[in-house]
């Protein structure tokens, strides 16, 4: 089935964005905003309509929709606002609203990392650079922003490309087959993976086991070499030594003892992606050095100055008497 209404909605939204990009008066801007919001709403309605949510899902879905609309509207403002500083500030809004969606998507760590890194660090850098490099409107002699901020470059073709892209990507959302059959299997695999992750960290596992039974003193490896054996009902069996008991005995851990989302990310980082983590650190270091080298004020020194910095004597100064003869 070809989602024709979705495409029409995309076109409406694209028209709204295109109109917003052009430098118009206030009235037209309001009209264009209404058009773009209508297109956006239509798109989201089409999407929600295609998946037909049940009643229990409506509340988180509503929050996601609300955050999404705020996020998209702010993004549109980022690309349409004539003042770069406002663009940056709108971008903070995008980051914050999408962080809310991240929280709803069980990615708390990512949400706050994004807010800290993006809104806190990167955007501040942007603002500083803007202030360093921006010509003030007073300098230009006009109330409004400078020309290259006001007048977009070929908005029609850009919006056209974006419209086609969103139509193609969004079109694929309509054809995602029903994954409810495989979802349970994936859930089981994911839970197993959670228990195994804990098994890689015996002290953490021991801590979790003590929450169930405070007499546990140590973990004992199971016959397969791991510390846990996941069960089909999401629980897991561990072998533990308890105080006062000579031989290890089994203990069933409930699913609630599975690691929470942030812990899982941390475990995954250190157990499954340690090299990538190190590389990311190196990249950040090199980027910092590069930025320092690039942005440094470059001055050309004469030969003598360089020599004097290096602590050498000047080339032509103080010729020894008689050397020139």
């Amino acid at each position: 089935m070809v989602p024709i209404f979705f495409y029409v909605a995309c076109a409406v939204a694209a028209a709204g964005v295109a109109l917003l990009l052009l430098p118009h008066g206030r009235g037209k801007r309001v009209g264009a905003s209404v058009l773009g919001l209508a297109g956006l709403a239509w798109i989201l309605v089409e999407i929600v309509g295609s998946v037909a949510p049940n009643a229990g899902e409506l509340q988180p879905l509503g929050i996601v929709l609300l955050c999404g609309i705020v996020s998209i509207a702010s993004a549109v403002r980022v690309i349409t606002h004539h003042r770069p500083v406002f663009c940056a500030l709108y971008f903070v809004l995008v980051v914050v609203s999408s962080a809310a969606i991240f929280v709803l998507l069980a990615a708390e760590f990512i949400a706050f990392a994004l807010i800290i890194v993006y809104a806190g660090a990167i955007l501040i850098t942007y603002l500083f650079v803007l202030m360093l490099a921006q010509q003030s409107p007073a300098e230009i002699g006009s109330e409004d922003a400078v020309d290259y901020d006001r007048i977009p470059r070929e908005p029609a073709s850009a919006v056209m490309a974006g419209f086609v892209l969103i139509a193609v990507i969004g079109g694929s959302v309509f054809t995602v087959h029903d994954s409810s059959g495989t979802a349970a299997l994936e859930q089981a695999r994911s839970v197993r993976q959670g228990w195994r992750d804990l098994s890689l960290m015996p002290s953490l596992l021991l801590e979790q086991a003590r929450r169930t039974d405070s007499t546990v003193t140590a973990m004992v490896r199971r016959p397969d070499g791991l510390f846990v054996t996941p069960q089909a009902d999401h629980s897991a069996i561990v072998s533990v030594e308890r105080t006062g008991k000579a031989s290890p005995s089994d203990l069933t851990l409930p699913p609630s003892l599975l690691p929470d989302n942030t812990t899982r990310v941390g475990i995954a980082l250190v157990t499954r992606f340690p090299v990538s983590l190190e590389l990311a650190g190196v990249i950040l270091l090199m980027a910092m050095l590069g930025a320092v080298v690039l942005a440094r004020k470059q001055t050309d020194l004469a030969e003598d100055e360089r020599r004097s910095i290096a602590g050498l004597s000047k080339l032509m100064d103080d010729p020894t008497p008689g050397a020139s003869r």
């Binding site: 070929e154 086609v164 892209l165 193609v168 079109g171």
Partner: protein, 710 residues
């Protein structure tokens, strides 16, 4: 059916190698002149060097003549020698060697002698160019003399060809001496190209001679002819004479290829006198005389030569009658006289042809030099309507009377040298057994009357009558800038003072006049003292003996009075011809006297009368327009070539270039025009392209994916 030949066998005489100096000295003087040009010598040094070199080579030839006994072959050095087998046709030899027999010496004597005299003349004539083109001019003269000597002295046809091309080159260089004048440049090109057409024939003829006889050395070729000259190849040998003939016609300005010679008068007058009247243009006569036996390979070859020569003589004479430029009149008379020579060769008297060459060389050189003196003195004026009464102007007497001598000789006045030489030719023609040759003889007589008319037309117009002259426009018409009297021509036009020639010109004119008289001596000796004509002896001792009338003589009335003596107008052939020829010459002179001295307006009246009658109108028009030969050539050769060239040019430009080359190039260009806006150099332009590309790929992938689901 080849006639029995008995060409004198040449002996090898290496001790005569000093004759080669006659060739070497002009070459050395050419090098010296080139050096002078490089050093920008201001004085007359090039002329002096050239005169010394040429005079020395003349003396060497004289010494060789005195020492000569018979045909000798003088090897100098091996030039081209290579063999690719042992057989007779498997080697090729062309040595730098000389074949010296009486024909060679005969030719070399007047070539080097006239060359020396004309160089002396030119040393004064060209003095206005001292420091500019003076050295270049004498370089050309030296190169010409070297090439001509190589041509005549050559021992084989390869060396002859070298000289043949060398004289062509020298002629080209000297015609185009005033290379800043477009007419001179085009005349030089015309001469060069027309000569190439003839040279193609000569080259093909040489190739065929080699492929038939396996050698190109005269001695071996003549030996082969002595043994009957049988064909050793399966094709018809008779094509050889026609090919050689083509070369001779080109070089000697005969009928199909004669139009370059009048244009060649663009060169300085000494060049016209030396190259285009006296020597180079006789190379064709020399070629035919030298290879005379080979012209009997085809029975009609000599008849063709005779017909071409006779008709050239007539046509050139008719054109000459209607020209106003003195040099052009003389140029056409040269063509006409060369036609006589070919007529003589064709009807079978090599003696007559060669003797006429000799006499013609003297009186034509004399006439050109007098014309040059006039031109020199009157700021380039050569129009015979604008000059009159020259002999009454002080300082011009010698020029006038030497010109008179030349005119008398050219018109073959009775008992002048040219009379006898022309007589020999016409007699042979009129007493021939062939009716067409007798017709050509009568045509030649008519031409002789025309010759006398147009010759004296010049003299009566220019030298006789009331004194009247208009100077020419030095800068445009004259062939050399003479700073000494250039201001006189324009600034003070009315008070123009003719610039009378000095001793070098006058002396040379006098010597030439005496020489013109002197070349008649052998004929007087023959007629009055009944001794053998010297020239006839010289020719008979060579490969051209066939028609010389001494060795294999059967029809020569000068020596024998046979019973079957042919007659002319009922009289004894000799007497009859003397009467007819004399009356033709005198009649022509009288007509010229009437129209051009006694009542000059009558000439214009006659012209008007001819033009007003429709049935005769074509005659003066055609004569004044040179029978439209140039135009016919233009229409027949140049125009089709031009049209085909335009067509090919169009096809090349619009099809090959336009459709194939440019059209192919336009495909990527058109594609580029579609995509060019995407690559304007701006970062975002590229980003748009990238985004569009990614979108398209994504759409394609999604489409495949969707199709997989449905």
């Amino acid at each position: 059916m080849t006639p029995e030949c008995s060409i004198p066998q040449a002996v090898i005489a290496p001790e005569l190698a000093w004759v080669g100096l006659a060739m070497l000295l002009p070459l050395l003087s050419a090098c010296a002149c080139a050096l002078c040009a490089a050093l920008r010598v201001k004085g007359k040094a090039p002329a002096i060097i050239t005169i010394i070199a040429l005079a020395s080579s003349f003396l060497i030839i004289v010494k060789a003549y005195l020492a000569s006994t018979g045909p000798v072959e003088v090897p100098i050095f091996q030039w081209i020698t290579f063999a690719w087998g042992e057989g007779s046709f498997q080697s090729f030899t062309a040595d730098c060697a000389m074949y010296i027999d009486s024909l060679t010496l005969f030719w070399m004597l007047f070539v080097t002698g006239l060359g020396t005299l004309i160089t002396v003349y030119a040393s004064e004539y060209m003095e206005g160019d001292c420091g500019h083109g003076y050295a270049r001019f004498f370089f050309g003269i030296s190169v010409f003399l070297f090439s001509m000597s190589a041509l005549v002295l050559a021992d084989n046809l390869v060396m002859l060809y070298l000289g043949w091309e060398g004289v062509g080159l020298a002629s080209y260089l000297l015609i185009g001496y005033n290379y800043d004048r477009p007419s001179a440049v085009s005349a030089a090109k015309k001469a060069f190209i027309m000569n190439r057409i003839g040279d193609l024939g000569l080259a093909l003829g040489i190739f065929m001679l080699w492929s038939n006889y396996g050698t190109l050395q005269y001695s071996e070729l003549f030996a082969a002819m002595n043994q009957g000259g049988q064909s050793s190849v399966d094709w018809d040998l008779s094509v050889i004479p026609f090919l050689l003939m083509l070369g001779a016609f080109g070089k000697s300005a005969q009928l199909p290829l004669f139009t370059w010679l009048p244009d060649a008068m663009e060169g300085p007058t000494p060049v016209s006198a030396l190259i285009h009247a006296a020597t180079m243009v006789t190379a064709g006569v020399y070629l035919i005389a030298r290879l005379y036996p080979f012209f009997e390979l085809h029975p009609e070859a000599l008849a063709t030569v005779a017909w071409v020569g006779g008709s050239t003589a007539l046509i050139a004479a008719t054109i000459g009658m209607a020209q106003y430029d003195i040099k052009r009149v003389f140029a056409y008379s040269t063509i006409s006289q060369l036609g006589y020579m070919f007529l003589g060769l064709g009807v079978g008297t090599t003696f007559g042809a060669c003797y006429h060459t000799l006499t013609h060389a003297f009186f034509k050189a004399l006439l050109f030099l007098t014309a040059g003196a006039v031109m020199h003195g009157f700021a380039g004026q050569l129009d015979l309507r604008k000059l009159s009464g020259l002999r009454h102007i002080p300082g011009w007497r010698i020029v006038s009377w030497t010109m008179f001598v030349g005119c008398v000789w050219l018109s073959a006045f009775p008992y002048t040298a040219a009379f006898f030489s022309k007589d020999a030719i016409l007699l042979q023609a009129l007493t021939s057994e062939r009716a067409d040759f007798r017709f050509l003889g009568w045509m030649g007589l008519f031409t002789a009357a025309l010759t006398a008319y147009y010759t004296f037309r010049v003299w009566f117009r220019v030298c006789a009558g009331p004194v009247h002259f208009e100077p020419g426009s030095e800068g445009q018409h004259d062939e050399h800038d003479e700073p000494t009297h250039a201001p006189a021509s324009k600034a003070s036009h009315g008070a123009f003072q003719p610039h009378a020639p000095r001793w070098a010109i006058k002396g040379v004119l006098l010597i030439l006049a005496v020489g013109a008289l002197a070349v008649g001596l052998p004929a007087y000796n023959h007629v009055f003292a009944h001794e053998t004509n010297w020239a006839q002896q010289m020719i008979a001792g060579s490969s051209a003996y066939q028609g010389a009338g001494l060795a294999a003589n059967s029809h020569d009335p000068h020596l024998e009075h046979d019973a079957h003596q042919p007659t002319v107008l009922g009289m004894d052939a000799h007497t009859g011809l003397t009467v007819v020829g004399s009356s033709a010459a005198i009649g022509g002179i009288l007509v010229a006297w009437f129209f051009h001295l006694r009542s000059r307006s009558a000439a214009d009246q006659l012209r008007r009368a001819l033009l007003s009658r429709w049935w005769i109108r074509w005659l003066p028009i055609c004569m004044e327009n040179k029978w439209y030969v140039d135009e016919i050539y233009h229409a027949c050769f140049q125009l089709p070539l031009w049209i085909s060239g335009q067509i090919l040019n169009f096809g090349d430009r619009h099809f090959l270039d336009g459709v194939l080359v440019d059209g192919l190039a336009k495909i990527p260009m058109g594609l580029a025009r579609v995509f060019r806006p995407l690559y304007g150099g701006a970062l975002q332009g590229y980003a748009v392209t990238m985004a569009g590309g990614i979108t398209l790929v994504l759409a394609w992938v999604t489409w495949i994916w969707l199709r997989g689901f449905n």
